[in-house]
């Protein structure tokens, strides 16, 4: 149901925005009446309520849009004194409520819906071609039935019944396959499901699938069935066989190939673009090694700042002695576990370095690369020293050497002792951010995390617990998480989207190739007499095969062209899901074109080989 609601939401975006507005207006009105009941006048009550509500109406009246409101808010926050514990605010981004809640699922649904929709059309085109081919071969039988008194409606009904039987059988087979592959399918669906609703194929889903199957079969079979059942008995009796191949039905095979290839190309281009994006994403140098780092959460129960300040350095020292620990440190920052609010900046604005509190061992544990100088050591304990990221060093000192210079961090002068390569702490999509690593001062509101780099098989959680408990204060030790899990969180959705669209694209290409091969095979049977004449007139087997293959390949190539155009037109819809790849990436489009040309040539050529074996005498005698 939740899924259906989201699909409905796609088409009701404006209506939903209106509903949210109405809901907020109702809420504000109730709050105003609440103030009035306390004896406050109407206008004062309105002022109070709007103020507490964030003064959205005032901002709107002043002509701010959502982005402008974010900028105004940021300017106001920047004017406040810097909170030394949090460091300076680097940016505030205002997002519309609707977008915040719905955007990610909307995107995924668009993608899934568009992919599946294209595939269903492709299947429909395929089936339509088959129905026409099958019906054409049964025209004699249809004529006999008509002569026995069957009306056109009855003939159409008969063909639709055939289509229904086939659709039910195919849907049941599809459902069995879906049940068997449900887990694998869910793993690649880029949708979040409610934790207590395990998606399953139940009676409702099964019934809906069956109805859709029958509906598609009727839609695609109705046209050919109507056309084929238009039998004029007088013409049949006179031996004047009506030419069905007129208008749209003049070349049904070619139309089917054209449409199938065009649709498959659109799917392939989408899958190809996402595949290239994912590849680019995995190639990005994060500046640290997420594979080698593990994260442990440890917190003393006593929240007194002096307890924490003494505990963490002692903990790091103990953990260093645990077997299986290569490097370890405590930090108030964990790569890839980020919240947008602190990471965002306004575009084009120089970014102040984010002060990150670390103990010695953290930068070694995450695998930071030293560019110059050295990392923090225990000898620096509580000295105002800092390690800068390369871009922070550049921002402060340009091309000059940063090591040995002084920088002001949270208004305190710090001596730069080293420079490390930039890290993309928020994952491959984030920018490398300017950071300054200084001595950790644990905040009382949130315990720092322990980052460790294992050696060999790594430490046992029991050893880590024992070490954490051996220092003195009572502590809570949370689970140990590998850094790859954090990375996975970051690239899982793109990976799922890519897998899904690639799967749909592969199915689409497969269907299109079956269509191409089918039309090629049909052409050999249909044109056997003509081909026999050609052979009798001296055409070589190669020439005959080429004639058949070219007849099929021409609409395929036209379909390729139309598909590429459609893909270039539709690709910008994918833009938000792409990473360092343009929607009209020539490399992807050329690869798709080449793949389709090669695959279609093979699919057309294999059945066409039969044409070379035609015996002209036998074919002409038939």
């Amino acid at each position: 149901m939740a899924l259906l609601r989201r699909i409905r939401a796609l088409f009701r975006r404006d209506a939903i925005a209106d509903e949210i507005r109405e809901e907020m207006a109702f809420h504000l009105e109730m709050r105003i009446e609440e103030w009035q009941r306390r004896g406050v006048g109407r206008s004062e009550a309105e002022r109070q309520v709007h103020r507490r509500f964030g003064n959205v109406a005032t901002l709107r009246d002043k002509g701010y849009d959502i982005r402008g409101a974010g900028q105004a808010l940021e300017a106001a926050v920047r004017a406040l004194p810097v909170d030394d514990r949090l460091g300076p605010v680097t940016g505030i981004v205002a997002t519309p409520l609707y977008g915040d809640i719905m955007e990610s699922t909307t995107d995924a649904l668009m993608l899934v819906g568009a992919g599946i929709g294209l595939l269903v059309i492709l299947v429909g085109v395929n089936v339509s071609g088959l129905v026409f081919a099958e019906g054409a071969s049964r025209r004699q039988e249809l004529a006999v039935r008509a002569s026995l008194g069957a009306g056109r409606g009855r003939l159409v009904r008969q063909q639709l019944t055939d289509a229904t039987v086939l659709a039910v059988a195919a849907s049941v087979l599809g459902l069995v396959l879906a049940v068997l592959s449900l887990d694998a399918l869910l793993a690649i669906l880029p949708l979040e499901f409610p934790p207590h609703v395990a998606p399953a194929i139940d009676l409702r889903t099964g019934g809906l699938t069956l109805l859709c199957g029958i509906g598609v079969a009727w839609i695609v079979a109705a046209g050919p069935a109507w056309r084929l059942s238009g039998i004029n008995l007088r013409e049949w009796i006179d031996g004047r066989i009506p030419d069905l191949r007129r208008g749209w039905f003049r070349r049904p095979g070619q139309i089917v190939v054209f449409a199938q290839v065009a649709l498959a190309v659109v799917l392939l281009a989408g899958g190809g673009l996402l595949l290239r994006s994912l590849n680019q994403m995995l190639q990005v140098d994060l500046g640290f090694d997420p594979e080698a780092v593990q994260v442990l959460e440890v917190a003393p129960l006593d929240p007194a700042p002096e307890v924490w300040a003494a505990y963490y350095p002692a903990l790091v020292e103990r953990l260093q002695a645990v077997p299986g620990v290569h490097a370890v440190g405590a930090s108030d920052w964990v790569p890839m576990a980020a919240l947008k609010l602190f990471a965002a900046t306004m575009p084009g604005e120089p970014e102040p370095p984010t002060p990150i509190g670390v103990t010695p061992g953290v930068l070694e544990a995450v695998g930071a690369r030293i560019v110059d100088g050295r990392l923090l050591s225990w000898g620096d304990a509580r000295l105002p020293v800092a390690v800068l990221s390369a871009s922070a060093a550049r921002a402060f000192f340009g091309t000059a050497t940063a090591v040995g210079q002084t920088v002001n961090l949270s208004r305190v002068p710090h001596t730069v002792i080293g420079v490390v390569a930039d890290m993309r702490g928020d994952g491959p999509r984030s920018r490398p951010e300017a950071a300054a690593y200084t001595w950790l001062v644990p905040h009382s509101f949130m315990p720092p995390s322990i980052l460790l780099r294992p050696d060999g098989a790594g430490p046992s959680i029991a050893d880590l617990r024992a070490a954490a408990a051996s220092i003195g204060p009572r502590v809570i030790v949370e689970r140990l998480r590998p850094g790859t899990a954090l990375l996975d969180d970051n690239v899982r959705t793109p990976r799922q989207r890519t897998a899904l669209l690639s799967l749909l694209a592969a199915l689409g290409l497969g269907l299109a190739l079956v269509g191409v091969a089918g039309v090629s095979a049909q052409a050999v049977s249909r044109r056997s007499r003509e081909l026999a004449v050609r052979v009798a007139c001296g055409a070589t087997p190669g020439q005959v095969v080429r004639t058949v293959a070219v007849g099929t390949l021409t609409p395929a190539l036209l379909g390729l062209g139309a598909g590429l155009l459609a893909a270039a037109y539709a690709a910008p819809l994918l833009e938000r899901n792409l990473f360092q790849v343009t929607p009209t990436d020539p490399y992807t489009l050329i690869s798709v074109g080449a793949t389709v040309v090669v695959a279609a040539t093979v699919a057309a050529w294999l059945p066409a080989r039969r044409a070379a074996r035609i015996d002209p005498v036998a074919a002409l005698r038939e």
């Binding site: 149901m1 939740a2 609601r5 989201r6 509903e19 949210i20 109405e22 809901e23 907020m24 109702f26 809420h27 009105e29 109730m30 709050r31 509500f53 964030g54 949090l86 409520l97 915040d100 809640i101 719905m102 699922t105 979040e192 499901f193 409610p194 934790p195 207590h196 609703v197 129960l301 108030d332 920052w333 964990v334 576990a337 980020a338 919240l339 947008k340 609010l341 602190f342 990471a343 984010t354 990150i356 890290m423 702490g425 928020d426 951010e433 950071a435 905040h443 509101f445 949130m446 995390s449 009572r474």
Partner: protein, 113 residues
């Protein structure tokens, strides 16, 4: 580069607010304002629910299937959106109440030691 602490903290707050909202709706459908009011009353005015947190939480839970909503008319004849618990929401509430009870019992036993 981001502070880990803020992320964790905000996740925890989300979780607690979700549980409180689910609990409030346990007794029957309510509109957003009534949910906020009920939370404030039940907590003796200790919990002031910000609209900026409440409505995103409601929409998020609805998107995840824990709540459903429909437009109705209040006692005073105004149109309002009423939220109610779904089967999944009831299961989530049962789970979260249980784990909350476990945590508070653990903390209590530490404090009493």
């Amino acid at each position: 580069m981001a502070k880990r602490g803020a992320g964790t903290n905000s996740d925890q707050l989300h979780g607690t607010l979700d549980m409180l909202v689910l609990k409030t709706l346990h007794h029957g459908p309510m509109h957003g304002y009534a949910i906020a009011l009920r939370l404030e009353q039940l907590s003796n005015e200790v919990l002031q629910v910000e609209e900026g947190s409440l409505y995103p939480a409601l929409y998020r839970m609805e998107a995840r299937g824990a709540l459903s909503s429909e437009w109705g008319v209040t006692d005073t004849g105004r149109r309002a959106r009423f939220y109610k618990l779904t089967k999944a929401g009831k299961a989530q509430l049962a789970d979260e109440t249980q784990s909350w009870a476990r945590i508070t019992a653990a903390v209590q036993s530490v404090l009493e030691s």
